[in-house]
Each structure stands twice: as structure tokens, then as C-alpha cells.
Amino acid sequence: MEHVGLAAAASEVSLWSLFMQAGLVVKLVMIGLIGASVWTWAIVIDKYISFGKAKRQFDQFEQVFWSGQSLEELYRTLSERTNTGLAAIFVAAMREWKKSFERGARSPIGLQMRIDRAMDVTMSREAETYEARLGSLATIGSAGPFIGLFGTVIGIMTSFQAIAGSKSTNLAVVAPGIAEALLATAIGLVAAIPAVIAYNKFTADAGKLSGRMEGFADEFSAILSRQIDEKLQPRQAAQ
């Protein structure tokens, strides 16, 4: 008699039936966590693609930049399209340079500062796009287990209440409720673990990218300042 009951109970411990047996709160928690997991992986995929693309663009641009091609020409070709990363920084700096230089800059120091500002702004804007949504990964990674635990606690509470109502502590009665409650924690962990790993990886990647951008900006500003000196001195000498 008893193992008939157990067998019947065991057949109801499938994943779907566990989910369906759960209470409303636990169900909501589980759905939310599954959504979080979906979002996490969407971010992961997106970041993976965009970081890969950014890296490739960086490499490409650096190749072009250091190929000895005229910067004017490069600026002309790049300024016609929307740019990201190093190209954006280069374009911003060149635009500033052009504006100031064509109108006739009076002080090389002011020009240098403006160019640096322009590059900084662009750089921080780019870095922002790289780091966008990494915050939500961090949130999911840290809060996911807690949310799952909350669902578990609620589930266990309700299953204990149910046990008290059924007046039986038979394991076959107790087990499904607890298993169903634990499912919430499991889903929380499933969502949180990739989120934490991805967050760590992508923040490191973003840091690397922005480091590269900074390095480029410094180098470029050095180049520009040399240019400024070269171009302004003849003027000053002329004056």
C-alpha cells in the first residue's frame, strides 16, 4: 500500500508538475528568475558579439592609423559614417582640431586642452556603451540567489502549513512541497551563476577596451600636440 503511494508521489515530482504545484508567490519568483536568466544570457550574447566587434574594429583602426596614411584622409573617410571606439575618439579629436585650427587658434595650450576634452568625452561615452547593462548582470548575480531563497522560504512555509493541515509527517507528504520550494533556489542559482561569471569577464573586457582607448587617446594627443607646435610656431614666428 505504502509504496503504491510513494510511486504515485514520485511520478508527480517532474519539473513541470513541481512548477505547477507551487504557490503563486513561488511561481512569480520562478518566472522572474527565469526572465532574469533570459536577460542575463541576452546581455552575455550581446556583449560577447559587441566586444568581439569592438576588438576587431580597434585592431583594424590601429592598423590603418599606424599605416602611415594621412590623418586628413583618414578623417575624411571616417567622418562620413558613425564611428565607435578608437575611430570615434580620432574623429572627435580631428574635428576639434579642424574647428580650432581652421578658425585660427590663438594659443596652442588652449587647443591642446580642447582636443583632450573632446577625446575624453568621447572616450567616456564609448566606455559607457561598453559597460552598459553590465550593472544588471551584477544585480542578477548578487540578488538571484536571494530571490530564489525567498521563493524557497515561502514555498517551505506554505508546505509546512500544508503538512500541519494534513496531520501527517510521512516523507511522501513532506517531500514534494520541499522539492518544489527548492526549485526556486535552483532557478535563482541557475540565473545568478552565469551572471556573476559574465559580469566579471565583461567588466574586465570593458576595462581592457577603455584602457586601450586611453592609450590611443594619449598617443594621439601627443601626436596632435606635436602638430600644433609645428603648425603654430611658424605663425608665431611670422607674427
Binding site: E2, A10, S11, I34, W39, I45
Partner: protein
């Protein structure tokens, strides 16, 4: 972002779908079908307070020893049992009758003359009829015969000559049996040719006869049979089995029986007489108290069951109710009274009750003793004593009560 969100959704639905299919229901643990072990908590009374009964019987309300078949009443028997004399020793187990081997009668002087076997058909018929009812161990033996018989054609010549169809021909059967037995034991009465365990001598014979004829008639002509008989005699020492089976080649069981009886008559040794002379009285023990009831659970002897404290209180109360203590005694509070009274089954006092008071001043003690004795006599017969607890060392056949001053009177 939309693309990646879409791929993420697709991946999740894939993974969840797979999980739903593959992780649907974990295999449930095998629960061994172990029956619950009943545990009895055994009170110490089951050792200290026992009633005579059967150790294996189910417990019942009323104690009773094992049912006895012998219903001849023995006066004043205390120990239940079948014995005619009431003994305290446990009954000696009746030993199984040992299968003793009795030796067969010595060989008949006359030589077995095999009857001519012209009527083979008859033989067969008889054989079939008899074999059906008693396929005994002997039946297995006949097989070796055919082998042996052919090699011994030498003795045959003498036998064919005497072949006249006589009832004596039957005799060969007893002879082989004897040969078996004689080899094992000395010579003993002829009357019991059969194995010792069987009381009726005539019965064992038919199977042997049957066994032999069955094979022989089918395989060999009648002439060979006499040969076998002789061969058996000669080969007795060699092969017991073959010998025993062979001789019984004769056809009709009746003839053989008659032949046997005649042979037994011939010997003057009578086993029955000797058996009658032996003392068959078995050493015995056990009580003689009879019981007609089915045994209840109990031990081999009655240690008795003591009165419970509430039952003792009940008795004390009966006595206290009749207790009239004279007032004005000094030192009553130091007196202790002990009553030892013999009772019969109905609670009446048998003999003089022993009432002893201790402690306190002499006069007070005597007064208390007297009043106690009066109270006791007045309250006889004592009521509400459980009959089941009367007997035994702890039973109330002898009732001992102790009173302290607070219990002297109600």
C-alpha cells in the same frame, strides 16, 4: 540587443524543454518491502510471576496448564501433567521407538524348489495388480538381477530337475531375506523376515515378489528363474541387494505367504514372546494434575502471581473496616503489626492467623494484636481476591499484610 535577447529566449526555451523531457521524474528510490517487526515489551512479571502453561501458546486471560489427555484424577496433585503419580520433575520426553533390526529366521532346511513356470501369463497379471499399490524401495533393486542371472547358468542344472510345481517353491523368498539380516546380526526368529521397522511380516514380501516377476517374465523364460534363485543363495554373501531380490521369483504371493508361515512355525524362537518379557515401562516424570482447557501462555511451573498493591489495599481495607481500636493507648504510633494468615480458595481463614505487633509499650502492643486479630476474624471471608492469583509461592494462599499505625483503623 534584440537579436541577442531573441537568441537567449530561444536557448532558454530549448534548455527548459530539454529539462522537462529528460529531467521529468527522477527514479524513485527502491523501498525494500520490510515487514514491521513486532516488538513486545516484556514485563519482569513474566519471569518473576508465572503460571503453569504452554510457552508457545498465545496469552490468555485465564491461566491454565497444558491440556492433558489422561483424565484420571489424582488427589491433591499440584503439578499438571499426564503422570499417574504427582512428581515435580518435568516429564521425560518419550523416546521414539528405535528401528531395531531383527534378524530373519535361519534358512529353511529344504531347498527352494522353483516351480515350473508354464503360466507366465498368470504371473504377469498378478504382478501388475500387486505392483501398483506398493512400489517399495525394493522395486528399484530388481534391475541388477538380469545381469547377474545370465552369468550363473552353472547352478541351473540341479534345479530344473526338482522343478515339480510345489508350494515350497515359495520358500526362496524368506531365505534371501534371512541372508540379508544374518550378515548383519546373529540368528533370530524367522517370523520377522521384514525390515525391523515394520511390524507385519507378511506385507514386505509382496513387493519383492512383484518386483522380480515383473522384469523376469518379460525378459526371460521361466527356466531361468530357478537358476536365479539358486544363484541368490550362492551369492548371498557377495551381493545383498541382488540376493534379496532374486529369490522371490515365484509367481503367486499367496503361495509364498503360506510358505513363510510354515517356515516360521518350524523355528522355535519367538520374538513376540521375548518382546513381551521385556520391561516396557518408561521412566517418567511430571505431575498428575489434570487440565481440560487449552493451554494458555505460561512457564513450565507455577511461580505464582503476587497480589497487586491495589488488591492488597483492598484486603487491608476490608480488615480496617472491621477494626475497632481501643482508645487511650499510649505509644500506638510506634506499633507495627504483621499479619500472616492462611486462606482457602474462597477467602476463609485456615488455621490460626499469626498476628505479631512490634514496637511500642508492651500493653499497647498486646491490645493492638488483639484488636487486629478480631478485625481479621470479623472480616473473613476476605472478598474480591482474584482466584487466578491464589496458587504459587507469591499467591494469596498465604497472605502477609503489614500495617503501620496510620492504617490501624478507618
Amino acid at each position: 540587443m534584440k537579436v541577442s535577447l531573441g537568441t537567449s529566449l530561444v536557448l532558454h526555451s530549448l534548455v527548459l524543454g530539454l529539462a522537462l523531457v529528460s529531467l521529468s521524474a527522477p527514479a524513485s528510490f527502491d523501498v525494500a518491502d520490510v515487514e514491521a517487526l513486532p516488538v513486545d515489551i516484556v514485563p519482569v512479571e513474566s519471569i518473576t510471576q508465572t503460571q503453569q502453561g504452554d510457552k508457545k501458546a498465545p496469552p490468555s486471560q485465564k491461566p491454565s496448564p497444558k491440556e492433558t489427555k489422561n483424565q484420571k484424577i489424582v488427589d491433591n496433585a499440584q503439578n499438571a501433567g499426564e503422570n499417574n503419580v504427582d512428581l515435580k520433575t518435568p516429564p521425560t520426553p518419550t523416546t521414539k521407538p528405535q528401528p531395531t533390526e531383527t534378524t530373519a529366521a535361519p534358512k529353511p532346511v529344504e531347498r527352494p524348489t522353483p516351480t515350473p513356470t508354464p503360466e507366465q501369463n498368470q504371473v504377469k497379471d498378478i504382478v501388475k495388480e500387486e505392483t501398483a499399490p506398493k512400489p517399495t524401495e525394493m522395486a528399484a533393486l530388481p534391475q541388477p538381477k538380469p545381469e547377474i542371472t545370465p552369468p550363473k547358468p552353472e547352478p541351473t542344472p540341479p534345479k530344473p530337475e526338482p522343478t515339480p510345481p510345489k508350494p515350497e517353491a515359495a520358500k526362496p523368498t524368506p531365505a534371501p531375506l534371512q541372508s540379508e539380516n544374518t550378515s548383519e546380526t546373529g540368528e533370530l526368529p524367522q517370523s520377522v523376515p521384514a525390515p525391523a521397522s515394520r511390524p507385519q511380516p507378511p506385507k514386505p514380501e509382496p513387493p519383492k515378489e512383484q518386483a522380480k516377476p515383473v522384469e523376469k517374465p518379460a525378459e526371460k523364460p521361466a527356466e531361468t528363474k530357478p537358476v536365479t534363485a539358486k544363484a541368490a543363495e550362492t551369492a548371498k554373501t557377495d551381493n545383498k541387494a541382488t540376493a534379496s531380490v532374486k529369490p522371490s521369483d515365484k509367481k503367486e504371493g499367496k503361495q509364498q505367504e503360506t510358505a513363510k508361515s510354515s517356515s516360521s512355525m518350524a523355528s522355535d524362537f519367538n520374538a513376540d514372546q521375548i518382546a513381551a518379557l521385556l520391561n516396557k515401562q518408561e521412566a517418567s516424570g511430571g505431575g498428575a494434575k489434570r487440565s481440560t482447557q487449552v493451554a494458555s501462555r505460561g512457564d513450565t511451573k507455577t511461580i505464582g502471581t503476587g497480589l497487586s498493591s491495589s488488591e492488597i489495599d483492598n484486603v487491608k481495607g476490608q480488615i480496617q473496616g472491621n477494626w475497632a481500636l481501643v482508645g487511650g493507648l499510649t505509644g500506638v504510633s510506634e506499633v507495627r503489626v504483621k499479619i500472616r494468615v492462611q486462606l482457602d480458595q474462597s477467602g476463609n481463614i485456615v488455621g490460626e492467623p499469626e498476628v505479631t505487633a512490634t514496637g511500642g509499650p508492651e500493653g499497647t502492643r498486646r491490645a493492638v494484636e488483639g484488636s487486629t486479630r478480631r478485625a481479621l476474624m470479623k472480616s473473613a471471608p476476605l472478598k474480591n481476591l482474584p482466584a487466578a492469583k491464589y496458587e504459587g509461592e507469591k499467591g494469596w494462599n498465604v497472605l502477609v499484610l503489614n500495617f503501620d499505625p496510620s492504617e490501624f483503623a478507618l
